[in-house]
Symmetry: C2
Subunit: 195 residues, 2 copies
DNA sequence: ATCTCCATGTAACTCGTTACATGATTTT
DNA sequence: AAAATCATGTAACGAGTTACATGGAGAT
């Protein structure tokens, strides 16, 4: 029974379970988190989240309590159930189904031989700025996590998995940044006067 | 007019233009390429490609010549037009619209504190094997590209942008691999006896 | 004989994005 | 007074995946 429901859940469902496994929250809370903290590796808008929470509740993977809200509708606070934790645990063990890595910047660079060097440089400068900013926020968060002892926590501690994903985020941004800089220098060298 | 059509094209359209800018080909050729060479940064199935080629032709960004094929239908060979090159060039210059980075492995790791260490290790070993294999193929291709002088070609040479994207692919795989290994060691150390 | 490769399309469905719609409380 | 934040939903559309459908040529 659990296996059947686990097979039909989209990845977003597990993303929501992963957040609710840490602490209960409203759909609004989850939407906010899927823009920043784990938003970095799984994004979703609220229009996708509310229906998905409904489906998770039908499957008894989450439970909700309604309270009179400040808006027109009641405010629902969701919490994960034991079945929900079990489904999440089972999913983590299954191998990742890798679907198309889609990277627009790489595609543009691949096509950039048709463009003017100045346009390519502009593109790279923007990407560089973005990655530098992202890196800075990750580094700040890592510093905070380390101060809270996340680096030395056991893998069964959510703070540790926070730290582990942050570490990857930092590596990713650093790698991209270095590549952008290398390419920009390379393009600029070949076409002087388009800085 | 060009600007209007450029705004309505999905990224897949530009991926196809980028491939056709290098050499003409059939829908089948493009589908094959979008599984391996640039498939690494933009994937698509043939059911998405054929209709998109039709739309590109309506917009006069590509042109096709039909020949009696070996199948039931004629075989169409597509080539990019001058308008197509112009549209591609314009697109490269525009900043990337970044949409949700979706990374299932990171999400699983983020949730892995609920799982058994053995399951997490299994997951990491599989990811590690995948990235190692990918890295090996990239390294082989880079060696071939370097032997062909791609590294020293100007940025206006498609061989150079091949090399540049390959370089990023290698950096990406190396970074992931190192992270997987670090995490696996960390998880194994905390839970001995689940190797 | 069967399998793989070449080659093209459509249909059904799921996933994701943008836009529409509503309304109270808190901050500026 | 206006704007941002909290809070929930639906509708329409666009992008992506899986499955259906066909059939010749060459290799095993």
């Amino acid at each position: 029974v659990t296996a059947a429901s686990a097979e039909t859940l989209p990845t977003l469902g597990y993303a929501l379970l992963a957040l609710l496994a840490r602490q209960p929250g409203t759909g609004y809370d989850l939407a906010r988190q899927l823009k920043d903290p784990i938003g970095l590796f799984w994004e979703a808008g609220h229009s996708q989240i509310y229906p998905q929470l409904g489906r998770l509740e039908e499957l008894r993977l989450v439970r909700s309590r309604s309270a009179r809200g400040r808006g027109p509708r009641p405010t629902k606070t969701y919490a994960i159930t034991l079945r929900g934790v079990a489904a999440l645990r089972a999913w983590v063990g299954q191998p990742v189904r890798r679907r198309g890595g889609r990277d627009e910047l790489l595609l543009k660079v691949y096509a950039s031989w048709v463009a003017e060097p100045a346009a390519t440089l502009q593109l790279l400068r923007e990407a560089e700025a973005h990655h530098a900013a992202q890196l800075a926020t990750y580094l700040a968060r890592r510093a905070a996590a380390q101060a809270a002892g996340a680096a030395d926590a056991p893998p069964s501690d959510p703070r540790f998995t926070d730290y582990a994903t942050l570490r990857r985020g930092i590596g990713h941004e650093r790698g991209r940044l270095a590549w952008c800089r290398w390419l920009a220098r390379r393009v600029a060298r070949a076409a002087p006067g388009s800085a």
